[in-house]
Amino acid sequence: MTGRNKWISLGVLALLIALLPLFFPSGYYYRVGALIFVNALSVVGLVILIGYAGQISLGHAGFAGIGAYACALAPEHLGLHPALAVLLGAVISGVMAALIGKPILRLKGYYLAVATLGFGILVSMVLTNERALTGGPDGMNVADLGLRSLLRDMGWRLSGGEFWYMICGVVLLVGAWLALNLFDSPSGRAMRALHGSEVAAATVGVDVPRQKLRAFVISAVYASVAGSLLALQNGYITPDVAGFMHSVEMVTMAVLGGVGSVLGATFGAAILTLLPQVLTVFAEYEQLVLGLVMVLVMIFLPQGLLPSIARRLKGRDE
């Protein structure tokens, strides 16, 4: 990916975000769009972790949970403004990632997967069991961000759907921009290098544990911010955000879209977010079709949607 590619990717993304609403027949589509952007944001984080650095995580929903509950708890208990709570969540997630990342990133492959899985489960367990604080499995309310009413006071009237579509779209753009910057930077190259060969990366001067940790922390922050946005937009949050299935969903989106590619992440998120909405027409068959689509995409586009299609276009299959 060269410098030009970066601006093309960002441009495509920005255009899509800006122009799609022209085709929206109802407010519901803004909601779906916003969800896609939120999911894409956490998936972009995973692209950095899995695609760049080659480390797997089955526990990133844990960070989304931290971000989400920071927005639910901090305004209520600490009197923090929700916007600051997003930051607080990101900081806590980053610190947590740094703390647990140190020991577990020594593990490889499935062993790392099971360790991250354990972390995710711990988080979701605390959120589920500490009912007094978190409302338990039934969840809790999340304070309003307040920005929409502020905009309204300034004379800019937006529906809830439009507002969150914009916010999430802008945050996703920023997230994608950062991730694309990283790709072609020394840090990003170091991450991709250790993905190829840890020994060789070390011998060219890459501090392998540190780079892995960086990727882990950065991706955790992405997931956390995504979790926060989800909580704020829903106004209500349950421990499901931190659940194992959510982690799996995130990884699936990343792989479906093409795990090395930022634009692919958005596509993966779009597909997996849209599918259940589209498949409602199949009612009973929904699950079946959803699974089939996943399998078929992976069979025919094993590198993930976007990279595989790009390769076909460039004529460099295999």
């Binding site: 519901y28 909601r31 069991n129 338990g136 499995p137 039934d138 309310n141 759907g161």
Partner: protein, 358 residues
């Protein structure tokens, strides 16, 4: 055509709730439309499966309101999904009847939000009243960590004192656990426990019941309305379940209701139709959906205008004396639940069948 929206958890961890709910509503809509609809207007049902995911539930609620333009929403199998749908309904002024248990759904009262199930607190009170009558004062509790179990656990702990009941042991199990003997052993080894209470749904209570038998408990076992269906006896085994008590609705003893029982007609009609259509036994949860549907049909009929959600809401709030499977509903501006404790009946398993205790 009257557009009615439903979002329930027909699959996923809460499928025990959502599956019978979905089936019930589909069946009732079909029946009603065949019978000519409401004032000649058919019902167009849009039913979504939110899989128990509150996030999806919110999306579907938005879709129902914005895209499908429904006049009312039923559903929200769990408290989590209900809370997600609820804020959409409130924002958009669409009447919403929830099928979930938490008291917080209708307390404080929200303009557009109603619910059909008893609250968890009512179930606890019913159980404790029965225990009190049996002279039980000290119990051990073991509950699932899912939403249903956790909420029951919290509510029961809150009201136990009011009934002079002391909870000496408080254990939990995961919704998918395969063996609860360690927790039950702890309860057994707690001095003075006179009964065991196990609020939960899914396989947990069946396994607990079997484990209780395995460990040779001599004290009574109480379950909650979460397992009030014939299938439960089969899973737990009639032998292990013998003597077990729980608060249930008239549904379970449809065949034993006196013909002059006010619920007799409603309950038998529903159980028979359901059994005939799906070859499955009804459960309490399907009953909640049945009642929600009955309420909305009644309200739309009375409202006279099937296009105006607020008219329907107002009619709904004016519901009075509607007999459902769960109990008799009367709403008011201060009360959007409208059931009292009498709706519950204490049941006991005898020879593999449900029997009313009173």
């Amino acid at each position: 055509e009257i557009r009615l929206g439903v979002s329930v958890s027909a699959t996923g961890p809460a499928a025990f709730l959502g599956d019978p709910e979905a089936k019930t509503i589909e069946m009732l809509v079909e029946q009603l439309n065949e019978a000519g609809g409401i004032n000649g207007e058919e019902i167009a049902l849009t039913l979504y499966d939110d899989g128990g995911d509150p996030n999806k539930a919110r999306t579907f609620a938005t879709r129902l309101v914005e895209d499908d333009e429904v006049v009312a929403i039923l559903g929200g199998s769990t408290t989590g999904t209900t809370m997600s749908i609820l804020s959409v309904a409130e924002d958009e002024g669409i009447p919403f009847i929830s099928l979930a248990g938490a008291i917080s759904i209708v307390d404080p009262v929200r303009a557009n939000v109603f619910k059909t199930p008893h609250t968890d607190r009512m179930a606890c009170e019913k159980i404790f009243t029965d225990m009190q009558a049996q002279g039980i004062t000290k119990i051990g509790m073991i509950s699932g960590t899912d939403g249903f179990g956790a909420s029951m656990q919290a509510q029961c702990k809150e009201v136990a004192g009011d009934h002079g009941i002391e909870i000496l042991a408080d254990e939990t199990y995961g919704p998918q656990d395969a063996d609860m003997t360690p927790q039950l052993t702890r309860i057994r080894n707690t001095d003075g426990v006179q009964a065991v209470l196990n609020p939960g749904f899914g396989q947990g209570p069946a396994i607990v019941t079997r484990n209780v038998a395995q460990l040779g408990f001599e004290i009574p076992l109480y379950q909650s309305h979460g397992v009030a269906s014939d299938a439960f006896i089969e899973l737990a085994g009639a032998e292990a379940a013998e003597g077990l008590r729980l608060p249930g609705t008239a549904l379970l003893i449809a065949d034993k209701l006196a013909e002059d029982d006010p619920q007799y007609k409603v309950v038998t009609a529903y159980t028979e139709a359901y059994k005939a259509k799906y070859d499955q036994d009804v459960s309490t949860f399907g009953g909640y959906a049945h009642d929600a549907f009955a309420l909305i049909v009644d309200a739309i009929t009375r409202a006279g205008d099937s296009e105006d959600p607020q008219a329907i809401r107002d009619a709904l709030e004016a519901t009075s004396g509607l007999v459902g499977t769960t109990g008799t509903y009367s709403f008011s501006p201060e009360d959007h639940l409208g059931l009292d404790l009498s709706a519950f009946r204490m049941l006991e398993i005898k020879d593999g069948d449900w029997l009313p205790v009173e």
